[in-house]
């Protein structure tokens, strides 16, 4: 089943959460690659195609938001989801397509990824999807 639904780059500075997150995504049929820092993620993005980036927010040297900004500046059509342990949405995450709390559980994460991917799939090649429209609560 792996690799059928798309390639996801999973970014987290901590090994265990990164590995576990990769593992549960694998169960959903995604091809999952892991990066231990924003810098590593940017390098990997330069080398191959990914369908979506899922990054932790609080990381040393480059935060999830910093990474998102970098990605969006060079690859505006690359979907980015930030996942965070804070319970409140930080004010500077608006570059990302979606902000998900870590405690929402696996299903919420799966749903979020599917929605973002779907949004990008239906929009035209040139158009950047409206991030607001992706918000499940609206």
């Amino acid at each position: 089943m792996a690799g059928n639904k798309g390639a996801i780059l999973c970014v987290d500075d901590e090994d265990a959460p990164r590995t576990l997150r990769r593992l549960i995504l694998l169960t959903q049929g995604y091809e999952v690659f892991a990066a231990a820092s924003g810098r590593e993620a940017l390098q990997m993005l330069a080398n191959r195609h990914f369908d979506l980036v899922l990054t932790d927010h609080v990381m040393p040297s480059m935060t999830g938001t910093d990474l998102t900004r970098h990605i969006k500046s060079t690859m505006p059509r690359m979907p980015v989801i930030i996942i965070s342990g804070v319970n409140e949405i930080p004010t500077d995450v608006s570059y990302a397509d979606l902000f998900i709390s870590k405690i929402e559980g696996p299903q919420a994460l799966f749903d979020g990824i599917a929605q973002v991917l779907e949004q990008y799939r239906v929009t035209s090649e040139t158009e950047i999807p409206d991030r607001q429209a992706l918000n499940p609560s609206q």
Binding site: E14, A16, P17, L20, R21, L23, I24, T27, V58, I83, G85, V86, N87, E88, I89, T91, S94, S101, K102, I103, E104, G105, P106, Q132, N135, P136, S137, Q138
Partner: protein, 673 residues
């Protein structure tokens, strides 16, 4: 015949026979007849006795009659004594006798005709008597005149003294006095005090005429209007013949200050009842006026003061109560003056909670006291005041100045609590992050574990249980250690629908606990906000209400419009009321503090704290009221949420938010009602 006073008749003759014959002739006259045999003897008698008539023989040896008469005429006492010469008719004698033109001198020629002698002597004796009587009368008259003159002199002297006294009094009198001796007041004299008051030279005529008034160094006003001459007190009194009392005059000195006088005037009348002048008295009230102004200024200042200023006498009876006191305590002046201060304010000392006896004894000892007092306003609200009190110097009263520091203390208290809350919030945020990270990993682990093909059904069941417990943990951290905002922009949320959703969610618990629902939505309650966090607020309140009624009860929900008032925005009131155990007053203060719980191990102690935080973000407020009484308790939480609030979409420092609505959050506890 002897009804008359006997006159002395002196008969002088050197021949005893003649003397005897005269005596015989004159005996019937009933006079006192004295004989003298010579001029010398006669003089001797004259010196000793008052003699009316001297009957003398012209020709006598030694000193003859003429010589005696001459001697008598030289002596003032004897000048007026009548002399009758007895003489032979000699021409020379007659000529000499005629020479005595003045005086009572007569003669009888020899031979003596007894009738003639008797008649002449009798006439002179009578003359003498009349003269004596006249003299007597004269003397008496003179004496009387003398006596009267003395009396008058005495009276005059007294009068002069009195006038001098009056003059002195006039001059030393501190009251100005003016006197006019004519009804037109053309001439007015005044005393030193008045000269000084008017700034004129002492002794100046104070007359004021139309021409002259221009030259005066002063102008006279009454109640701000310049007075015409006729309206001046002395002039008016003289003109009308009426007494004038207590005219208030202002003397404006040219290029200088003003004096204030209180003038009285009284007319002077002649005997015929016509006015002849007037007297005026002028009291200088300048000092009094200045003092009055000063007092009025002081009084105005006291009224301006925002502090409560009070004066009480030594028995505690209120004598003064300023506007500040009216505003602070709600009692009007007329309500409290004359009452005892303790009956009005129920003063207690904050430090020891005791009555004001300690203050009184400190005042008696030191004359001063300052400190914080707890007092009760007219509305029955306890306030804390910073008080300064001082005993009046004469020990007759106590002055008290109080400043309301209730709000200040509350603000300080609130600030302390807010700071504590903010610190708690920061800690909670860190804790949330630290818990959430491993929580995700464990949740993911259980997810993988549960699906692992190597597990048998039993192991899979255990994994499922573990996963379910983890969901609870996630739920708790989400609910208590922060709030997850599901969207970045607020949307329209219907508060009534939100409440219904919660009721549906809690339906089973409500049913189990036999709780009846009483809901009244007077409005849909549509506001701009985030459904998740708003749901959390009411889930907390309803959850608490349900937990407070384990043995059943009634849960009442209300939604109503709140109009714009007192600077509050328009919005909605949402109240959640239960008939549960109630909130004891001692808990009321801590209700909104983090980690405060009455549910021991069941609750986190964060529910209300979080709810309050959310409501504050919306610019709203939460207050509660709890009644505990035998018939049944009731606890009601009322939430106010504005239609929209800009802060709901912005990140506002929590401290600033907390301050802005702190007073609303004080919560009224009426548990003792």
């Amino acid at each position: 015949m002897s009804r008359h006073e006997q006159a002395n008749i002196l008969m002088v003759d050197d021949q005893p026979g003649k003397l005897l014959s005269y005596e015989a002739i004159l005996r019937d006259l009933d006079e006192n007849l004295i004989q003298a045999r010579s001029a010398r003897e006669a003089l001797d008698v004259l010196l000793r006795q008052d003699v009316a008539v001297v009957l003398m023989d012209v020709s006598m040896p030694d000193i003859d009659g003429f010589e005696l008469a001459d001697m008598m005429h030289q002596h003032p006492r004897f000048q007026k004594i009548a002399i009758i010469f007895i003489s032979a008719v000699h021409l020379t004698d007659l000529d000499r006798i005629k020479g005595y033109q003045s005086g009572a001198v007569d003669y009888i020629s020899v031979p003596v005709v007894p009738e003639v002698l008797r008649a002449k002597v009798s006439v002179f004796a009578e003359l003498h008597r009349k003269t004596r009587q006249l003299e007597q009368l004269n003397r008496e008259l003179e004496q009387r005149v003398e006596e009267r003159t003395e009396e008058i002199r005495e009276l005059n002297s007294q009068l002069e003294q009195r006038i001098a006294e009056l003059e002195t009094i006039m001059q030393v009198l501190p009251v100005g006095v003016a006197v006019s001796q004519d009804p037109e007041c053309r001439s007015i004299t005044c005393n030193a005090a008045l000269s000084e008051l008017f700034g004129v030279e002492p002794g100046d005529n104070m007359v004021v005429t139309k021409d002259e008034i221009q030259g005066r160094p002063f102008e006279i006003y009454q109640q701000g209007r310049r007075l015409e001459i006729e309206a001046l007190p002395l002039q008016m009194s003289a003109k009308t013949g009426q007494q004038l009392g207590s005219m208030e005059l202002e003397i404006r000195r040219v290029g200088g200050d003003s004096s204030y006088l209180l003038a009285n005037a009284i007319p002077l009348f002649r005997e015929d009842g016509k006015v002849r002048g007037a007297v005026g008295a002028f009291f200088d009230m300048t000092r009094r006026k200045q003092l009055e102004n000063l007092l009025r200024e002081r009084a105005d200042l006291l009224e301006l003061a925002t502090e409560a200023v009070m004066v009480r006498d030594m028995s505690g009876v209120l004598r003064y109560w300023n506007a500040g006191a009216e505003a602070l305590y709600g009692w009007r002046r007329e309500d409290v003056l004359g009452k005892k201060i303790d009956d009005v304010l129920h003063t207690r000392v904050q430090a020891d909670g005791r009555g004001s006896d300690g203050v009184d004894s400190a005042l008696a000892e030191n004359g001063r006291w300052s400190g914080d007092l707890i007092q009760v306003t007219r509305d029955g609200i306890e306030i804390v005041v910073a008080s300064r009190q001082a005993l009046k110097e004469d020990g007759s009263a106590v002055l008290e100045i109080n400043r309301d520091i209730t709000a200040q203390l509350r603000a300080e208290d609130a600030l302390r609590r807010t700071e504590r809350l903010a610190a708690m919030g920061r800690v909670a945020g860190v804790i949330a992050h630290e818990i959430n990270n491993p929580l995700e990993s464990i949740t993911n682990t259980f997810y993988l574990l549960r699906q692992h093909p190597s597990l048998d059904d039993e192991a899979r069941y255990y994994a499922k249980l573990g996963e379910e417990e983890l969901i609870r943990v996630s739920h708790i951290t989400r609910q208590t250690l922060g709030f997850y905002r599901e969207s970045k922009d607020p949307v329209e949320v219907s508060l009534s629908e939100l409440l219904d959703e919660i009721l549906e969610f809690q339906a089973r618990r409500l049913e189990i606990s036999h709780i009846a629902i009483d809901k009244k939505y007077l409005s849909r309650g549509a506001i701009q906000g985030f459904p998740g966090e708003l749901k959390q607020v009411f889930l907390n309140l309803i959850g608490n209400a349900v937990q407070a009624m384990p043995d059943g009860g009634r849960l009442r929900l209300r939604v109503s419009e709140a109009s714009c008032r007192n600077g509050r925005n328009a919005g909605f009131f949402i109240s959640v009321t239960d008939t549960g155990s109630g909130i004891p007053p001692e808990h009321a203060k801590h209700l909104f503090e983090p980690f405060f719980t009455t549910k021991s191990n069941k609750g986190t102690g964060l529910g209300l704290w979080i709810s309050k935080g959310i409501v504050q973000k919306y610019g709203g407020s939460i207050r509660f009221r709890s009644c505990q009484r035998p018939g049944g308790n009731a606890t009601s939480f009322q939430v106010f949420l504005p239609h929209s609030h800009r802060n709901a979409t912005e990140t506002v420092p929590p401290v600033a938010q907390a301050r802005s609505s702190q007073t609303e959050l004080m919560g009224k506890s009426s548990g003792r009602e």
